[in-house]
Amino acid sequence: MALRSASTQLLGRAGLLPAAVCNAFHRCMSTSDKFSVEVLPFKAHRIEPPNNVVETSIDELVGMYELMYKMRRMEIAADMMYKAKLIRGFCHLYDGQEAVMTGIEAALTKEDAVITSYRDHCQHLSRGGTVKEVMAELMGKRDGASKGLGGSMHITAAFGGRGGASKGLGGSMHMYNRQANFYGGNGIVGAQIPLGAGLAFALKYQKKPNVAIAMYGDGAANQGQKYEALNMAGLWNLPVIFVCENNHYGMGTAEWRAAKSSTFYTRGDYIPGLKVDGMDVLAVKKSMEFAKAYALEHGPIIMEMDTYRYHGHSMSDPGSTYRTRDEISTMRQERDPVERVRKLLLAKGYDAAAIKAMEKSVKKEVDTAVEESKAAAIPPNEWLWRNVYVAPANMDMRTVEGTYVQPTYDPTYSS
């Protein structure tokens, strides 16, 4: 769409033009044009923070909104499916934290590596996975991200997008996507942090111009292995960005009851850190662009994302025994990350009808994914013995019945 003249812009901004003309002008602005937005200033530790002005465009915001809205709807659907007992075990939902992963993706490419904890459903989406892969994995179906083998905490996307994530083998905590350099999905608190350092080590070893993002929470921030990873990353200048998603509660224990120092961005000591408003996707994006540049040139940096989860720690936790309902509802009203982008888009003159249409389409996608996952097939019994080993030779595995079975190998799960 063509731009009006510069004078119209100036007059419009100075409020000297009638509203109709202003609106008309906005509609004529190109959606790829850049404009600036102010975010909350960053708090810094041992580093000069970037300024708090972020460049974005309508196009970018629309893309971010769609992703965040999809994340939100997907997690809400997961909540309903869990209550309907179609999802079992542990299920850790990300709603409220959408801005963090969306903002991170805005600053990265798929050549950069991402690893996170069990709260990984939305990471699978942002790394290019589908809602269907997540839903199928959560329901333990063969089309799931980890073939139904991993479950909620182990979501990964398959080669060539065939079928789902971990094929129902991983479950909620085990979603993975090798092609998009998404390394999961880890059930044990903090164990992914040294793995993340390893991803960065490999990037440096192979001389790739990329970074690794190791995500963890305020609860995991007290794990010893985090400090072991920080020390090694600092020692060898590994290109790793440690992202602490501080949602202020490690399961049921508030940060101030678990950490002597809850300024997580300073706890890397000699490693610099930034504290970011994690409910603002643009603030996250800006800080991550800064972090990536820093990590590639200098080494590790810690990013503390001040965020919030609406749900409890997992679906087994009502989330209200250790925090007030007021706190949760205030957060929703004042700092909801998805709503924030929606308001910004509308303020910038984006068509409300277009937003509604996109939301409708996302809802449909999520609903379809749920229905398809419900109807999808469970992993066949043969998959019990598949891919325990890579290319097993001379291996007989003893079964409970006292017979032997040959373990099989087929990473494509073609049958």
């Binding site: 990964t156 991983g170 040294p194 390893g198 891919n387 325990v388 190998y409």
Partner: protein, 369 residues
């Protein structure tokens, strides 16, 4: 693809410890006939492991080593001696003392396609890294729906040394054996140490590779050339008819000491070195038991829950009708390994116990006939 072919080639070979091979090279001096036997060079086990590491690192740039003091210090058991000078600090990485951390780091690197060899200065220290080894190493290929291989070799010395105390005398094979997705290998000779390490490095599966503190300086010959030994096959040490003795690691030598004694007394035991602690080579094991109808397990693992406990259960379940005597199992006592020399000796299996066990089994069976 090339890697898979070479692994297939490696796996196709049945490991067999050669008798001491002496290459006779006749040398003729003009005017006189002189035959001079040239012996193949004997090296120590640490040198053999070093050769394997060096050869594989040269062959494949994704192979790297990480661990405490593997680089500048020269390796606490010299397995990586001076390799950092050839390959640099990144490929022979001196880590800080943080087993959980660097094990995780090695596994993370392996997920991207590198092939790290992670050294535990003592296998006992790897208890600190147990979560990484169990969850992120063993199980990852399965729970990721086949997406991530973890081609890592976790190696180091274990076993009872000379008065090193309880915490430095642990046998971790019993703890690791239940982890799905890992393979456990125990080396015992110079030849199989080199050949097995080469296979382990080339394998796409995580291999937990047990060396023994007291075996690093034993001497022997390695196989020629690029020989890789199968990771899943047991080794026939001595063919026999009276009893099948299953053993591994340093206990192989304790058994062979006992065998020398038994031979004098007229016994003919069959000795099999398990090599592969997970999975068991049931083909070799059952073939032997069907022949001798008696099984004796001699190991350094603890009595409770050791490798022998698992093997005994499997033999009882699958070969009950082939047995004339219950499976006997000589393992370490379920106590911490004391510092005092005599108590330490009483904790682990000694040759005379092996002799007694064989005599007891054979006489009981003979009496029943």
């Amino acid at each position: 693809m090339a890697l898979q072919t070479s692994i297939a080639r490696c796996n196709a070979r049945v490991g067999r410890a050669p008798a001491a091979r002496v290459a006779v090279k006749p040398q003729y001096v003009r005017g006189a006939a002189q035959v001079v036997a040239a012996k193949k060079k004997e090296i120590m086990m640490w040198e053999a492991l070093r050769e394997a590491t060096d050869e594989e690192m040269e062959r494949d740039p994704t192979v790297c080593v990480m661990g405490e003091d593997v680089g500048h210090y020269g390796g606490s058991y010299k397995v990586t001696y001076d390799l950092y000078k050839k390959y640099g600090d990144m490929r022979v990485l001196d880590t800080p003392i943080c087993e959980n951390g660097f094990m995780g780091m090695g596994i993370g690197a392996a997920m991207t396609g590198l092939r790290p060899i992670v050294e535990g200065m003592n296998m006992g220290f790897l208890l600190l890294a147990f979560n990484q080894i169990s969850n992120n190493c063993g199980m990852l290929h399965y729970t990721s729906g086949g997406q991530f291989k973890v081609p890592v070799v976790i190696r180091g010395p274990g076993g009872v040394g000379r008065q090193l105390g309880a915490e430095h005398s642990q046998r971790l094979e019993s703890y690791f054996q239940s982890i799905p997705g890992v393979q456990l290998v125990a080396v015992s000779t110079v030849a199989n140490a080199k050949a097995l390490l080469k296979s382990a490095i080339r394998s796409d599966n995580p291999i937990i590779f047990f060396e023994h503190v007291l075996l690093y300086n034993i001497k022997g010959e390695t196989h020629d050339g690029d020989y890789c030994q199968s990771l899943e096959r047991a080794e026939m040490v001595r063919e026999g008819t009276d009893v099948s003795i299953f053993t591994y690691s340093r206990m192989r030598y304790v058994v062979m000491q006992a065998v020398a004694e038994l031979e004098k007394k007229g016994y003919n035991p069959e000795v099999i070195d398990l090599i592969s602690l997970k999975p068991f080579d049931m083909e070799t094991i059952s073939k032997s038991i069907k022949k001798t109808r008696k099984a004796l397990i001699v190991e350094e693992c603890m009595k409770t829950g050791g490798i022998g406990a698992s093997l005994s259960a499997v033999i009882n379940e699958s070969l009950f009708d082939e047995l004339d005597h219950q499976v006997m199992r000589l393992s370490s006592q379920d106590v911490p390994t004391a510092y005092a020399y005599e108590l330490e000796a009483a904790t682990i299996v000694q040759p005379n116990q092996v002799v007694e066990a064989v005599e007891k089994m054979c006489s009981k069976v003979a009496a029943a006939v």
